[in-house]
């Protein structure tokens, strides 16, 4: 699935575009806990979240995440948009809830990262 297709599936709106709409997304993940993103996020993953503060962008940057989707039509504050522009992160907004946004993407073929063992040191 590429970014363009994902935006269609989510009926979303691109708030900050820093990537080619044809860029492929390897997998998706969802979290409202930034430590979870750091622990389970993987390079290139699209992150769905209900948080909109600038730290979400920072966290994504550190985790190698390029695209963030805000669920429930949340509009991020200007600082978040500004930081995303500076850090080369793309931001998308969707009206669906976290559950439904994830469900739609998974159903449309965007995989997750599979079972995670937290004690496993090999991620």
């Amino acid at each position: 699935m590429n970014i363009r297709e994902m935006v269609e599936v989510l009926n979303g709106k691109i708030l900050v575009q820093n990537h080619d709409p044809d860029e492929e997304l390897p997998r998706g993940g969802a979290a409202d806990l930034m430590s979870d993103v750091l622990a389970f996020g993987s390079e290139g993953m699209v992150l769905l979240t209900g948080l909109t503060n600038p730290q979400v962008v920072r966290t994504a940057e550190m985790a190698g995440i390029n695209v963030i989707v805000f669920v429930r039509d949340k509009t991020p504050p200007p600082e978040t948009l500004e930081l995303a522009r500076d850090s080369c992160i793309s931001l998308i907004r969707t009206g669906y809830t976290m559950y439904e946004a994830c469900g739609r993407l998974y159903q449309a073929g965007l995989p997750g990262r599979g079972p995670v063992r937290i004690e496993n040191n090999s991620w």
Binding site: Q17, M34, S35, L51, P54, V56, R58, T59, A63
Partner: protein, 326 residues
Amino acid sequence: MKTIHGDMSTQEITKVQELIYTTRVESVMASNVIAIDPSFTMSQVKDLMRDKHISGAPVVKEKQVIGIVTISDVIRSMEEGKLNFLVTDLMTSDVRTVSKDAMVTDVVNNLGRQGFSRLPVVDQDGTLVGIVTTGTLIRSLLMQMDKSFQKNEAEKLYTYRASHIFQDISSDDTSLLLRYFVNERDFDNAGKASSLIKRSLQRLMLLPQIVRRVGVAVYEAEMNLVIHTDIGGEITVEVRKDRVNISTVDHGPGIADLKQVLQPGFSTAPEWIRDMGFGAGMGLANIRRVSDVMKLTSSPGQGTRLEIVFNFRNDSLATTRSPQKA
């Protein structure tokens, strides 16, 4: 010398396309837009266009664009003897506008294929905030191309210089020391040091997987300084040929029970920190998981010191690879 019809390389075309896709309308518009009041007559419009050297302008009522009037409307009014008519009688009222947050692609499609020569730019409330014409578009795209070219060249140079430090500097054991100061409770800048560290390690051409692990650890550590200290702290990153040593030092309240804070899920963070997605008690667990060695020393009133080590083989630094073969 290239002729005007000379080939644009594929790379150049891709760069233009990329800019068109990634640049927002807001950054290519002229914001000092001249708007026309609905009470104007065509004669007043004609004078305004002459004085301001413009060939068209939006007609605005209560900040909303209700029409657009161009020089051909003025000519028509002269031909038909309608110079004393109101602008609202002769303007085009079916106006195509574009959002300031839209991408330049939208503008290109409308200006080119639809044959419009100017597009009023509006914000979320439909308030007029600027105007784009082919002129403003080309000017700002050229400026951005120039800027991004210079930035690319500079980045290449920095990466080259930085990554050669381990070869160019002679010593028995070279290391590079980076220091960052972190303020307590400064959430606007929280993570900035980590971001700079990540970029610096990228410039030093460390392997991406190591950069990523360091990034995660140092970000968690930085957030701890922001959240839990009352006078901030310092992050030191020592880059060596075969490892990265990170230490964060603060003179904050210190930790009474070290065993307890190392337990995943234990947290003393207040509710509002948790609302921001932090303070779940996973920070130190995350750091321990991504690093090779983690050592936490602290006692109440004495501050806290966290040392993190990432070991890698010599060849993880691209700089230690053999020089390019000709």
